[in-house]
Amino acid sequence: MKDRARIPIFVASALLVLILISIGQHRYTLKGLEMVQEGYSWVERITSAPLTFFSDIWDGYIYLINTEQQNVVLKKKISALEVQNMALKELRSENDRLRGMLEFKKAYQDLPLRPAAVISQDITLVFKTIIIDKGSRDVFYKNMPIIKSEGLVGRTILVSPNTSQVLLITDVNSAVPAMIENSRVKGIVKGRGDGNLTLEYVRSDEDVKVGDVVVTSGLAGIFPKGINIGTIRSIKRVEHKMFAEIMLRPSVKIGRIEEIFGIGRDVAYSD
């Protein structure tokens, strides 16, 4: 390749990159990216099939050597849990009655949860997204809230027929309307990119304490109200500053996500 040709190629590629960055605001509508994710999901499925086969053999036969002893221990645990369960059922029915009396919406009793598994993580260290193995064929949709039993994980930003890309709450581009569970003080939870979160736009004079639980507020209509986001780990109040600097610890261990749930559209949103 002659040196003279490199300059036009450099200029052309610079222009192309500039155009791509300019249209980047609408990246989530690009069909090309969905097709690449779809293609990869098939590669991942084919390559993981032999591993699944051998792990099934391991789990189903070799790993069962000490099963009898485990069985005895587990039966004891089950009987203990059954007692606990009875107590919890009583508490739940009491809770139901109280809710009915207060005319609360029973949004979380019938959450249409759709399970999915994580198949890959973000290719860069800076951005925090994951790709899950369910897409529009399994009624996953854009901006679907993604949760685990511990709390909020994020929301879908790109949905193809068999895969979805999820923006985690710890990503720097993530913002979730939230409130402190006890004091009902509202704010916005933003990701820091390092696995922690910040609660922003909370006035310095508000009643906020370390250890307070932060939940979704239901504002903006994406996340249902009351999903656990995290707990406050530190508060910094600077004189002459209107808002406090509040750091949160996410309730979900983001680095250890394997199975998640998407919340279907037919949730009754509060607010």
């Binding site: 980047g24 590669v43 860069t124 581009n173 990119g193 390092d194």
Partner: protein
């Protein structure tokens, strides 16, 4: 020429499987950039236009697996490709040590500029995953470059 392109795409799929599924499964904060080794291999062993086209298209494919704004990954890798092409005239890029050092430094540069784009301090997550990722990227770069060389020489024959 199309056969080597297909082979490189297959290698890229393997790289993707390692980078976004297997390595994060071992350590969720670990990101090893094997594609950077392919970029070095393409700069050293393939014609300029061929390598450029592959790097551009492949980096667009990588974009599908990142939350980064559209255009950032092509920007980073095309810039790395031009930088390495320029360095080819200054240093002996076939040297394994040179490939290791360049791979390590370029990985750090790409992560740092990504952090700048979103106004984030990349050290917030800690030194260890960053340095481990950069170190392993550097160590694996000659291997990836060798794969490109092996493919190129095989099809040329």
């Amino acid at each position: 020429m199309w056969r080597i392109q297909i082979s490189l795409v297959c290698v890229l799929l393997g790289v993707l499987l390692l980078e976004i599924t297997i390595f994060p499964f071992v350590w969720s904060s670990l990101r090893i950039d094997l594609f950077l080794g392919m970029v070095i291999g393409l700069v050293v062993y393939s014609p300029f236009v061929f390598g450029f086209c592959f790097v551009f298209i492949a980096s667009l494919m990588l974009q599908a697996f990142s939350g980064a704004r559209m255009g950032y990954l092509p920007f980073a890798y095309v810039l790395a490709y031009f930088f390495l092409d320029m360095m080819k005239g200054l240093i002996f890029l076939e040297n394994i040590l040179a490939q290791c050092i360049l791979g390590c430094l370029l990985n750090l540069a790409i992560v740092y500029t990504a952090g700048l784009f979103v106004n984030m301090d990349i050290l917030q997550e800690g030194w260890l995953p960053l340095l481990a990722g950069a170190g392993l990227t550097g160590m694996l770069c000659p291997g990836m470059a060798y794969i490109v060389k092996w493919l190129w020489s095989g099809y040329e024959v």
